[in-house]
């Protein structure tokens, strides 16, 4: 079995480390391809996956504060001679048999009922791009182009309903198609075949990983966006009267939603020049201390903008949570239900209460 090339390939598989000093391994190597030049010769950099910029930064352990940058060779530690020769062979083989292998792949995709959301022409076009990117990764050792392509591919196909298992599926199929073609070519020379596979394996893994991860990340981004949109739609700030806003909150609130509610409310206060806000939490079953804090912050921030807040629908459970975190409930203007809250608001605004009038009429009838 030949020696596995130990180039920067493997290291770059460690995606997404944060510069928390107590979490990083001590012997993290400092590799770099291109370095960002700044005026000072001491730079603080944070390790990052290559993303939209063609830079890879060096890691700097915080405890020792700052390091001088050290320039390293492009092909640093141990690309074996055999390894690079094998890669060249591999690349040549893939190029020679491009049409045939790509067609085989496309055939197996269709046979496996993958990418059913896409037309034959689209599959042709995308498989061609992936194939060519595959070759480029093998040739250059860099996944930058592949990542960019994978991101753009994901952006295109996610709205079409392509699922993760399909994307992973087609990449693994390609791996298999290429693997089998290598078996076929080198089946008479086991040693050579092993060497070729030694060069092929890590690269193939890296490609599969890169594509799958890019796809999943893009999906997650889309989901986050959708969640954001839903949140915004579900928390309207209503102006019912002049200078009076109502914010009915329904459902569970998490920290992010609470934050968003606060922002929306504060902007609403400015836009509507509200003097009183009624925040109705009848529809909120429970809140944790984090969200309770947010609620209090909302009240305080509204006050800074000259608006007073009335909380309605405060269940005894939520009241208990507030007390537990140290909120002085007597400072909070809490009224039983929404109707009562609106009446109180109108009183604060010096308005005759419309609801009270209606209520009186109803009881008379």
């Amino acid at each position: 079995m030949g020696r596995l090339p130990t180039s920067g390939f493997q290291k770059s598989l460690y995606i997404g480390c944060t510069a928390r000093s107590h979490e990083r391994p001590d012997n993290y190597a400092v590799t770099s391809r291109r370095r960002r030049r700044t005026n000072a010769h001491i730079t603080l950099n944070v390790y990052s996956q290559v993303k939209r910029t063609k830079k890879r930064n060096s890691i700097v352990p915080l405890g020792t504060t700052l390091h001088r940058n050290r320039r390293r060779d492009r092909n640093s530690s141990g690309n074996s001679e055999t390894g690079s020769v094998m890669l060249r062979e591999l690349v040549a083989h893939l190029r020679e048999n491009r049409t045939q292998l790509r067609e085989e792949w496309a055939r197996r995709i269709t046979a496996g009922a993958l990418l059913t959301a896409m037309s034959k022409e689209e599959i042709f076009s995308e498989t061609t791009s992936v194939y060519d990117n595959y070759i480029e990764v093998l040739e250059t050792g860099s996944v930058e182009a592949l990542q960019a392509y994978a991101r753009s591919l994901s952006e295109r196909i996610i709205p079409r309903g392509v699922e993760t298992h399909e994307v992973v599926g087609i990449v693994l199929l390609l791996r298999d198609v290429l693997g089998r073609s290598l078996f076929k070519k080198y089946q008479n020379d086991v040693d050579l075949m092993n060497r070729v596979l030694d060069a092929y394996e890590p690269a193939a893994n890296r490609v599969a990983n890169t594509v799958a991860v890019s796809f999943v990340q893009e999906r997650e981004r889309v989901i986050r966006q959708q969640q954001e949109a839903i949140r915004e739609l579900s928390t309207p700030v209503l102006q019912v009267r002049e200078r009076l806003l109502i914010l009915p909150i329904i459902g569970m609130i998490d920290s992010q939603r609470a934050r968003q509610l606060t922002e929306q409310l504060l902007r609403g206060i400015r836009k509507n020049r509200a003097k009183v806000v009624v925040v109705d939490i009848t529809g909120v079953p429970t809140i944790d201390s984090v969200v309770a804090n947010h609620l209090v912050q909302t009240v305080e921030a509204s006050r800074l903008m000259g608006a007073s807040v009335i909380i309605t629908g405060l269940s005894s459970e939520i009241a208990q949570t507030l007390v537990t975190i140290g909120v002085n409930l007597s400072k909070m203007n809490a009224v039983g239900d929404l109707q009562g809250g609106i009446e109180e608001a109108e009183r604060l605004l010096g308005l005759p209460s419309e609801l009270a009038k209606v209520a009186t009429q109803e009881t008379k009838a």
Binding site: R20, T43, Q49, T53, L62, Q217, N293
Partner: protein
């Protein structure tokens, strides 16, 4: 377009410079709305902290990435006296929030990530990060 920025903090006027640069860089990175104010305020607090405890120091602002997330890292460092009891300095319960001289705990509250390294007699390095949501 996105680049690092470093600001020497030697006087109170540098506080304003630091937070304005922070706001500028945050805008370039794609931060919006209240995030900008939060970032600028956190920088203000931390820069103020340098002036008050170490008299001089440096703030470095840099874009960061984690997977597909992008964000802003703010590093404040000084060669001041260091903080003997970090746990105590970072205490920040709701009821203890009196709103005056909040400095470090306040900045931590505003940011997504917060790390502090300090050594008595040597200095302090505070690293904070805010991610684009």
């Amino acid at each position: 377009m996105e680049r690092e920025a470093r600001i020497d903090i030697t006087s109170a006027t540098d506080i304003v410079t630091a937070r304005q640069k922070g706001r500028g860089l945050a805008i370039e990175l794609g931060f919006e709305g209240s995030d900008l104010t939060v970032i600028a305020t956190a920088i203000s607090e931390i820069a103020r902290n340098i002036i008050e405890h170490a008299e001089r120091g440096q703030i470095v602002l840099a874009p960061v990435h984690q997977g597909s997330r992008r964000g802003l890292a703010i590093v404040a460092q000084d060669q001041g006296p260091g903080i003997p009891d970090v746990g105590q300095a970072m205490q920040y319960g709701f009821s203890s929030r009196k709103g005056l001289g909040v400095g470090l705990p306040g900045a931590k509250w505003l940011m997504d990530e917060f790390d502090i390294e300090t050594k008595v007699g040597k200095g302090t390095v505070v690293t904070m990060k805010k991610w684009l949501h």
